[in-house]
């Protein structure tokens, strides 16, 4: 009743091809973005920004990138952590080796270097598929882990291997408070999400989806697999690299190579799987789930324990976190293998016929 598109007639091709054809959707998304930009900075405390919102935004950007590769193009990649590391270190080197390098340009250079790395390590995808490709991309993860530890040039020859970035500022706006960092990351996420959404609806996106669905058939009808797969790696790695730069610069401030280890790659893959493969909105929802759930469990479990009269030690909470997290992932995948995005679209479909059941 609330959600139907009765009376919404499209009078131009442009209107017909818009990303959100239903007016209620458009209102909702614009409202959400406006809420995120103008209301959220005033209602949450510093901890919420620093520990939950900022990592969520950065990981959502990375998850969108990984979703393009895994969800839209069907190339399983376990090297996303490494591409984040490449983006972070490349941006760091751009910042310190070039005087007066603007922050955004440094981050984009990081993304560009991650693109090159992604295309290089995406070459195996031209020969292998599925699980074997996952193993090949895992090699990327370990290679870059090793490179940033052993090749001193990347870390500017610091003896400790830890690098740090100083004051962040964009055209005079210093980014030091949690709200500033939040807005900075939100800006990146919104821009890249829109770009990604447009890309996947275009010819390239359709090429990717054809490769995902049946790559032999796609090659037969004239889609060039080399172009499609490597472009998927390139675009995906660019976003992941920019996200890596943001993670190092904005969230961590000071990092060592272990900050982008194989756990990060797995996390990103889980975000894509839980959120829904082949959906930009799904990547963002998956990121929210994976980032916020451990923290929520960490804070909620002792309270729950006290309600029942059981004091749980910090170690117990940590173990329980892992168990519940794993169990929830399995639960979600049984209930809805297509992820949170599918749950969302089911909800929308129910809303369209509400209050009727069907």
């Amino acid at each position: 009743m609330l959600y139907r598109e009765n009376g919404q007639f499209k009078t131009s091709y442009r209107a017909d091809q818009s990303i959100f054809p239903i007016a209620q959707d458009r209102w909702f998304v614009w409202g959400l973005v406006a809420f995120a930009f103008f209301v959220v900075p005033f209602i949450f405390d510093d901890y919420f920004f620093l520990a939950i919102l900022i990592p969520f935004l950065i990981m959502a950007l990375a998850a969108v990138g990984v979703n393009i590769l895994v969800g839209y193009c069907g190339q399983i990649s376990l090297g996303s952590g490494a591409f984040m590391a490449v983006g972070a270190y490349a941006a760091y080197n751009a910042m310190i080796r070039v005087d007066g390098m603007p922050l955004i340009v440094a981050l984009l250079i990081g993304g560009f270097c991650a693109t090159l790395a992604g295309m290089l390590f995406g070459i195996p995808s031209l020969r292998v598929r599925g699980l074997y490709l996952a193993v090949a991309t895992l090699a990327a993860q370990f290679f870059w882990d090793w490179a940033f530890l052993r090749v001193g040039w990347f870390t500017n020859y610091t003896p400790s291997g830890s690098v740090a970035v100083g004051k962040l500022q964009v055209l005079g706006w210093t980014i030091d408070s949690p709200v500033d960092k939040y807005l900075f990351c939100l800006g990146f996420l919104v821009v890249f999400a829109v770009l990604a959404k447009n890309l996947v609806r275009s010819a390239i996106g359709r090429n990717w989806m054809a490769i995902r669905d049946m790559d032999v058939a796609a090659a037969v009808i004239g889609i060039r697999p080399v172009y499609a797969k490597l472009s998927a790696f390139a675009v995906s790695s660019f976003m992941v690299g920019v996200a890596g730069g943001l993670w190092g610069f904005v969230y961590l401030g000071s990092w060592e190579p272990a900050a982008f280890d194989v756990q990060t790659s797995f996390q990103l893959l889980f975000m894509v799987i839980i959120g829904g493969m082949g959906s930009i909105m799904g990547a963002i929802m998956g990121a929210a789930f994976i980032i916020s759930l451990p923290i929520f469990l960490n804070q909620f479990l002792p309270v729950l324990g006290e309600l029942v009269g059981v004091t749980i030690s910090t170690a117990g909470v940590s173990h329980a976190e892992y168990m519940i997290f794993g169990a929830l992932i399995v639960w979600f995948l049984i209930v809805e293998p297509h992820g949170l995005a599918k749950l969302w679209s089911i909800a929308k479909q129910k809303l369209r016929v509400w209050p009727f059941p069907h």
């Binding site: 961590l252 990092w255 929520f296 960490n298 170690a315």
Partner: protein
């Protein structure tokens, strides 16, 4: 069909419940909040747990003794699993809780690097007793870092002095081969600059053998040790890396009495599995060793463990890492006492006041004895420029059942250390745009 609906409903509910519950702040009588960043899970838990138990027990003991001038201490633990990201998350969560955190002790060099950027902004001091960045001993640049009792350069320096003594003089080290087996992280890489300098000074060859986190893969490293047969092996490991190293040493037949661990590689969890086979393994003792006879240990057992208020197993009270936790907590509470003396006895102090307190500590023998640490530690005193306070260590050796002291007191050679600390601190200051503190800032 119904089960499917039920499952969908539960899934939706779990999703909806992801709104965060903010921790409930309870208004209580004025208490000083000490957050405790611990790792009781993960590959570093065997070593992190006794430290956390000692830390928690000492703070409880202080409360049993009546608090510091009547102000009791509130402790809250946060599990980090030795991951820098979680250390930062715990820091952010606890820095403002319960009236504001007084001091943080990350017990992780990687975490220290990350928190060094944040602590000055939030005005909360960091105590990194026996760890962290070696250059942070320079209080002129690192206003908020306190690597009390010793840094890794002190450790490396005194180890070289000790093996020099064993060899009959530092000049006898010429031509010898010293291998450093280190955890491939900021922690493990810390001693390298000083060892390279000493290698230049005395003409010994330094072989660097990194071991990737978490440190269980050491077969290749020890095969190389077996091939090269270095005269001494310095071990800079943590957690399971330590016990693995000793097991591999046994397997490859490298004599344990030529192995020297840093003070984080010389505790009971590292040698308990190997026990008799680890006999002869030496390690640095950060002033204290295993002190089962110390007066404070007896007090902890009587006032806490006998009454069921202790943390962790009773058998571990007095072990090396337990003592380290005890001492780290003691240093923090003594800093609090000094701050209270200036800013108001019996009042809760802020982070800035605590920082002043830590910078003006003077732990005398009498003071230490009254706290129960007589015979365990030497005098320590910090100042505006020296945030380390003391650079004395001893060497203890595992005799198969317990740790025994096998050396005299060794002091880090200030002539070698001070210039290096100053140069590196200056470099950090130049990178970050931090100017050296003027003398007028010292009484702030």
């Amino acid at each position: 069909m119904k089960l499917h609906k039920l499952m969908l409903g539960t899934a939706a509910a779990a999703l909806g419940a992801s709104a965060l519950l903010a921790p409930v702040a309870s208004a209580q009588a004025a208490e000083q909040f000490f957050p405790s960043l611990v790792y009781r899970t993960g590959p570093y838990a065997p070593n992190g747990t006794p430290f956390a138990n000692g830390y928690s027990d000492y703070l409880r003991l202080v409360n049993e003794r009546g608090g510091i001038n009547g102000v009791k201490i509130k402790v809250e633990e946060c599990e980090t699993g030795y991951s820098t990201a979680r250390i930062v998350e715990c820091y952010e969560r606890l820095k403002g809780a319960n009236g504001g955190a007084t001091v943080f002790q990350p017990l992780s060099t990687g975490g220290t690097f990350a928190l060094t950027e944040k602590a000055p902004v939030d005005k909360i001091p960091l105590i990194t007793a026996g760890l962290g960045r070696s250059e942070s001993a320079d209080g002129g640049v690192f206003k908020w870092n306190f690597p009390l009792l010793g840094t890794y350069w002190v450790a490396a320096d005194t180890l070289v002095q000790h093996v020099g003594k064993q060899a009959g003089g530092l000049d006898k080290l010429k031509g010898k081969n010293i291998a450093l087996i280190y955890h491939d992280s900021a922690y493990g890489k810390e001693p390298i600059p000083l060892l390279q300098k000493r290698a230049e000074m005395h003409g010994f060859k330094l072989t660097l053998l990194p071991v990737a986190h978490p440190g269980v893969e050491q077969k290749a490293t020890w095969l190389q040790v077996r091939r090269d047969r270095p005269d001494y092996v310095f071990l800079w490991g943590w957690g399971v890396m330590n016990s693995t190293a000793i097991k591999e040493a046994v397997a490859t037949g490298y004599p344990r009495n030529k192995m020297y661990g840093v003070w984080w590689s010389g505790a009971e969890p590292d040698v308990k599995d190997v026990a008799a086979n680890a006999k002869g393994y030496n390690a640095l003792a950060l002033q204290h060793g295993a002190e089962k006879d110390a007066s404070v240990v007896k007090e902890v057992l009587a006032k806490l463990h006998d009454k069921g208020k202790g943390t962790g197993p009773r058998e571990e009270v007095g072990d090396v890492l337990y003592m380290r936790g005890l001492i780290s907590a003691m240093l923090a509470t003594e800093g609090m006492r000094v701050a209270q003396a200036k800013y108001g006895k019996g009042k809760v102090i802020t982070g800035e006041q605590m920082r002043w307190g830590l910078e003006n500590m003077n732990l005398t023998d009498i003071g230490l004895r009254s706290l129960g640490f007589g015979g365990v530690m030497r005098t320590t005193s910090t100042s505006c420029s020296d945030h380390m306070g003391a650079a004395w260590v001893r060497v203890h050796t595992w005799n198969g059942k317990a740790w025994e002291f096998t050396s005299d007191w060794l002091e880090g050679d200030r002539k070698v250390l001070d210039p290096m600390v100053k140069t590196t601190a200056d470099k950090y200051g130049a990178e970050k745009g931090i100017k050296r503190r003027p003398a007028s800032d010292c009484n702030a």
